[in-house]
């Protein structure tokens, strides 16, 4: 009986981890979108540099403080600039970046259309 109780307590304790599963997923998602500034080809998630380890702690703390994903990105871009994000946000510096593929696509479409009209003629 004693053993059973002990076993129950342990099982319950270990299952509390599942409550944190969402948080850990969010943490990883954010860390994957952050550029490690020391080893610039890697994300913070992949990197084991001192900076990346600390940044993971900061992200974790901020989530615990109730920050949303966007708030954390804002907090970090304020400190390190837009470059720390792999997925840059939509603002006046990135209009060109976001619209360029669309413009290229439209441009290509116009060329094809013109050719088709020419063939029909």
């Amino acid at each position: 009986m004693k053993f059973l109780n002990f076993f129950l307590v342990i099982t319950i304790l270990f299952n509390f981890n599942l409550l944190k599963a969402d948080e850990i997923m969010l943490q990883n998602k954010i860390a994957k979108n952050l550029r490690c500034l020391i080893c610039q080809g890697q994300s913070v998630y992949d990197s084991d540099s001192e900076f990346a380890i600390s940044l993971k702690v900061v992200v974790k703390n901020k989530i615990n403080e109730g920050f949303t994903e966007d708030q954390i990105y804002k907090f970090l871009t304020k400190k390190y600039g837009e470059w720390i994000l792999y997925d840059p946000q939509f603002n006046k510096n990135t209009y060109f970046l976001w619209f360029m593929p669309l413009l290229t696509f439209l441009f290509g479409g116009v060329i094809i259309l013109k050719k088709l009209i020419n063939i029909k003629k």
Binding site: L37, F51, S54, V57, V58, N61, K79, G81
Partner: protein
């Protein structure tokens, strides 16, 4: 038609050439453009007196402050240490140390061995306080006046940079 294609290819080639040629002059390493203008708020333990200090209580005098992020394991910190000791002799400036992710015994040994230019040494055990400052490595140094960050130096100080700091405080 053929001429037009050649013309178009030439334009594209020149466009790409110019972009890459200009890229050659850009440095590979990126220095983040931080928007932090005033000192961040934080509380931290201190190394020698072992008490907790708030950032508001540290930078409150009407004088220049230098916040230096250092660690005993950081080799360039050893190189810049003599410059800090020289600067500390000036009455117009107070140097605050932020000990970054260090073993406390080693940090104390470092100070005992090379001298202590710092009026206060704050501890950053997990590196989170350095992130509040927008720092990403050691050593980094911030020149502060009236709670505003005037200048940030990434990497070790040298005689040229020390001259610059002395110009500021004169």
């Amino acid at each position: 038609m053929k001429n037009r294609i050649i013309y178009l290819l030439l334009v594209i080639f020149i466009f790409i050439f110019v972009i890459f040629y200009r890229g050659l002059n850009n440095p590979n390493s990126y220095t983040p453009n931080t928007e932090i203008k005033s000192i961040p708020e934080f509380a931290s333990e201190t190394l020698i007196k072992k008490k907790t200090l708030n950032s508001k209580d540290i930078f409150n005098k009407n004088k220049f402050y230098l916040l230096n992020i250092w660690a005993s394991w950081c080799v360039p910190c050893r190189d810049e240490h003599p410059f800090l000791i020289n600067l500390a002799k000036s009455e117009k400036i107070e140097i605050i140390g932020l000990n970054y992710k260090d073993n406390l015994n080693n940090a104390e040994k470092f100070i005992n061995e090379l001298g202590n230019p710092y009026s206060t040494i704050l501890l950053d055990r997990d590196g989170t306080k350095a992130i509040e400052w927008g720092a990403y490595g050691v050593p980094e140094t911030f020149l502060i006046y009236e709670n505003k960050i005037i200048k940030k130096y990434i990497g070790p100080l040298n005689s040229k940079l020390v001259d610059e700091i002395e110009n500021y405080i004169e």
